[in-house]
Symmetry: C2
Subunit: 480 residues, 2 copies
């Protein structure tokens, strides 16, 4: 409800309530650590408190804001808590939130260069910066035939990679005539579910996604990839896409990108490298080994919205040959024609992803990089890895727990030696305490706990307390 | 750069700079009307001002914020200007910006119910509200087999509709074995380019999208749809999807949903109705005729981020049978398993779209509905339609200009009688003035100007001034 006759929130009202919301967030940042990490509500509990029908007349903004505390907060799982160690992180930071706020305030829709040149050019520029910051292959820069674009998520990125691979393999005929059930794609048994989703969406069919076995480090066996591709070719199929992962979701395994890449080159297969969380580690020279062989990839994605203090959503997707991607996704109806597009001198990012409309997401990324500087970002990534390594050391030294996988970076997979049922109960007890949030996976058929250090404000004391709580919970269970 | 040793922006710094950003946006709202609507920069001009490499050390926030005025603003096309009449609007409002700010601050990732129950339950609830607010068919509510979800854009929504249609038509075999080039889809020649994009992405092939001719009002000919489907069936093809549009992008034409729907029912075709902009009109009972026949649709989408004061991105996508959609898009790797999901008592929206991760977008929508109330939203939609109708009246009464299409709602398609070249020059002259931004289309092979009234702060005086400027520009051109 506005005090003006026209129902709008006036600029002065916006100023007043905007300050109130900023203050609310600042307070939240200060207190989030004390809140139960995993929401403790039951299914339907939040909805039951909401009015059945919307109101005919507007409400005062302070009433709306009060409901955030009253109705919403109990139903929040606090991804921004320093005690959040579940899944992969989705961290944020002050400069990112404010960059995103400016994007909302400007309200531009950057589908074409012309619909806001700054939205496109800042994005191209910052994505080029990131090539240098992560020491990625120069071919992903926009000054050659390649380039980068912000996608919402790594799922959308891998879909675009599968589509471009599909089209390159069929001479862009699938776009015209549809797919024919003979195209095959490859990823390890440990690859993210988004690859299966992409293969289904793109009309290749789940059965044509070959899940290649992994070695004892949960990394793809390049020799078995080669054997499978040969078998498929012999069977008259058309291999077109390989998805390699730098930091799998289950265990942070690193596929041998160099070996896979050489094979893909020799066999004209599109290689996409998904480094959704772990790519950020390459800010630090000592972790750049994770990208060995990346110069052989056709496309690459990592998510600043996971581990680089940039709030969701923000995935950076790079291709070595932007023409293949654009030719795959381009449509040009009359109502989008304009001089800048026809001049060929500009990028129109709408041809780089499924969506037409696009938000000004480069702003938050630019704010994060400028606020922290490369030095600041590096500092925190390094610290997170150190903390995870310390935790891994405690597990290694423990009589009751064991590591379940190598720990290359900031994810520790571990388990109590007392077996699956014990670990399952242990996880539930820990999460129900609200003091900590971990999730699980299954490795070598055994139930495994995962602890990922990547939240913006996670410090040594949080990781120490996590270990203490895990041990205490295990002891309590053993006694009960 | 932070004053603290750890590089982070502290809560107190966030408070200070957050207030500054809010003030910047309030000032922008006050002054945007005076800025040139279409950015006047040349390709490369923005990038040329940006430093070649990111800085090693972080910068002060006031330096970053100052660059918004200095570097970014000249490259902005002001979608939030009341003089923006181009494309379809992407309007926003104070309550929406603040709801979105809270979403950024909370930083939750709502891929599963468990990862923030409030994110899921508020979304379901508000989407049910909108069914009542727009008087949509009750089958789109979540209390039966249907339900709604927020997608980013109408392009993603139609892709999901095409995928569900593909799977329903093949007994979910395309997901397994891939498509076979025999599935066909249908839309009018005036349908949005996103349908062609979706058909290509889904592996059906562009040639299998039949563009059905339209009548003199640019609406799909249901009789010709029937004929084409019969021809395709006779040729051994498998028709599966029809996309009808309520308010085409070119001319705001309304396809005959009831006639198309009856045919789709009889022929087991999935009917998707795209009402991206115009759906919002149904807030007003007098405009609900646009949805006649919608009870026959399988899916429906409209974008609050276009005309309902909710900042980009926010598309509401409804399905009558959520099981078909979920079965099409579901993947369940071990690391996402949890008790709530397995109980079957909750919605996990990750199975409703391509992406896995998702932002808490329901917050901004909730804020908009509560701030304006149904009454406030209706007021503005009604007013926008009135203003467009007035403009259409002036065109109709003019000796030099003519209407190029019917004007059912808030989009006016018109042209000067002096021919295509004249209209092309006229549009360029108007847009170069910076005082106004219009775009064009082609209708019946003739170059046509489009004026869409939908910006949050567009009032009578802006539309009056637009008409004055258009006439003056035409007179100046005729003299030169």
């Amino acid at each position: 409800m506005s005090t003006t006759a026209n129902f709008h929130m006036s600029p002065d009202e916006f100023r007043r309530w905007g300050h109130a919301v900023v203050d609310w967030i600042a307070d939240y940042q200060r207190h989030v650590e004390a809140l139960p990490v995993l929401s403790q509500v039951q299914p339907g509990e939040i909805r039951a408190k909401l009015p059945a029908a919307p109101l005919e007349h507007g409400e005062a903004f302070d009433a709306i804001l009060a409901d955030i505390d009253r109705l919403v907060l109990p139903g929040i799982t606090h991804w921004q808590s320093p005690n959040f160690f579940a899944y992969f992180p989705a961290n944020n930071s002050g400069p990112s939130i404010l960059g995103d706020l400016l994007a909302s305030g400007l309200g531009v829709q950057g589908m074409l260069w012309a619909t806001s040149p700054a939205c496109t050019e800042l994005e191209t520029h910052v994505l080029d910066w990131l090539v240098d910051m992560l020491d990625l292959p120069a071919k992903f820069k926009s000054n050659g035939p390649g380039g980068g674009v912000i996608q919402d998520t790594a799922s959308s990125a891998v879909l675009c990679a599968v589509l471009a691979a599909r089209e390159r393999a069929t001479g862009f005929a699938s776009n015209e005539r549809g797919t024919d059930g003979r195209l095959t794609a490859y990823a390890s048994t440990q690859a993210h579910s988004s690859i299966e989703k992409a293969v289904k969406v793109a009309g290749l069919g789940r059965q044509n996604l070959r899940l290649i076995p992994v070695d004892e480090r949960f990394a793809m066996r390049a020799d078995l990839l080669a054997r499978q591709v040969a078998d498929d070719r012999a069977a008259g199929l058309v291999p077109c896409f390989v998805g390699a992962t730098v930091g799998t979701t289950s265990s942070n395994a690193l596929d041998p990108v160099a070996a896979i890449g050489r094979f893909c080159r020799e066999n004209s297969l599109w290689l996409h490298v998904d480094a959704a969380m772990s790519g950020t580690a390459a800010l630090c020279p000592e972790f750049r080994f994770i990208h060995d062989g990346l110069e052989l990839a056709d496309s690459y994605a990592f998510n600043p919205h996971k581990w680089m203090f940039t709030n969701f959503d923000c995935d950076c997707f790079y291709v070595a040959d932007r023409a293949a991607l654009i030719k795959t996704l381009s449509v040009l109806p009359e109502y989008l024609r304009n001089q800048a597009t026809e001049s060929g001198a500009v990028i129109d990012y709408r041809d780089w992803h499924v969506q037409l409309g696009r938000r000004f997401r480069a702003l938050k990324l630019w704010f994060v990089i400028r606020h922290y500087g490369v030095e600041g970002l590096r500092h925190h990534v390094r610290r997170h890895v150190e903390l995870a390594q310390e935790f891994a050391g405690w597990v290694r030294a423990s009589a009751d727990f064991e590591l379940a996988a190598p720990v290359p970076l900031n994810l520790v997979c571990f388990r109590h030696r007392a077996g699956d049922d014990f670990n399952r109960r242990l996880l539930e007890r820990i999460n129900q305490s609200g003091q900590l949030y971990l999730t699980h996976t299954v490795l070598n058929d055994r139930y495994t706990l995962r602890l990922c250090v990547g939240q913006t404000h996670t410090e040594a004391r949080h990781v120490e307390r996590a270990w203490q709580l895990i041990r205490q919970s295990a002891e309590a269970d053993a006694r009960s």
